[in-house]
Symmetry: C2
Amino acid sequence: MDPSREQAALLQRCNIRPTYPRIKVLAYLMTGRAHPTADEIYSSLVREIPSLSKMTVYNTLKLLAQAKLIRVVNIGDKELRYDAIMTKHGHFKCDSCGVICDFPVDSDAIAVEGLDGCTITEKDVLVRGLCPQCTGKQKERAGKN
Amino acid sequence: MDPSREQAALLQRCNIRPTYPRIKVLAYLMTGRAHPTADEIYSSLVREIPSLSKMTVYNTLKLLAQAKLIRVVNIGDKELRYDAIMTKHGHFKCDSCGVICDFPVDSDAIAVEGLDGCTITEKDVLVRGLCPQCTGKQKERAGKN
DNA sequence: TTCTTAATTTGTAATCATTATAAATTAATT
DNA sequence: AATTAATTTATAATGATTACAAATTAAGAA
């Protein structure tokens, strides 16, 4: 069959029954796709699984996030994005072209004085600005003025 | 009159015509209110300004944010929050009671290797977990089991 | 002041990601 | 095969935000 055994095993290990849609959603996220929205995941997978419902995608994403197999990325747009890369990293979003990219961040090194007594379960770093290409275009335009 | 002159002057300086609703929205945010939603701002101000429309609140918040008089805070909930404290700080949200608090963060000190060539306009640090009180309650409960 | 024009505010309707709900389907167990 | 529980599906509801156009207000000129 196809090599989704890895995903099935991961789900098993988290006590999530490895159904076909769940395996496919997890596999989709683990194979190079960076930060898709629920809708993008649905649209891609429905070609392969015509009966797929968007609710299943949402349910699955919630399960996977609870099991910490994936991460929910809130870039500040109205839709959430999902990410199977679980190593520590921050997210950069270009305000011009919309590209999102990861960058390494040692979140443990971020000092959070003033949160004494708090239990910290998650630390996110979000950066916005212009990607190198859009920065270049902007400079070009500025030069012409 | 009332001491909203400060807000009026701030708006003037940003080339935003200091209309009554705008002054009031800015004053609301600057007087101790931490991270209200657009709806909270509207609900409070409509008592004083019965003709106020929610659209005006949204429009004003957008203007103020563009002028960098306030900050848009996306804590990961579906509604946005707004903040007039413009010194560098991160946001902590308690996943149990929902309280949001600021903490100092030197965002310049956060290394963002891998973003060479990018123009960075904004850096946000978001922390989630349990506040001291909710941490206490959880420990108590764990002890009883 | 009065007229003219532009900016602002307002109310209503539309948008759209996500959630709620319950019926239909599938899988697991007896 | 029968029973039960879990999962998936379709449809409708929710709710923050935006779009839009009419109504109001303010600013500047005559």
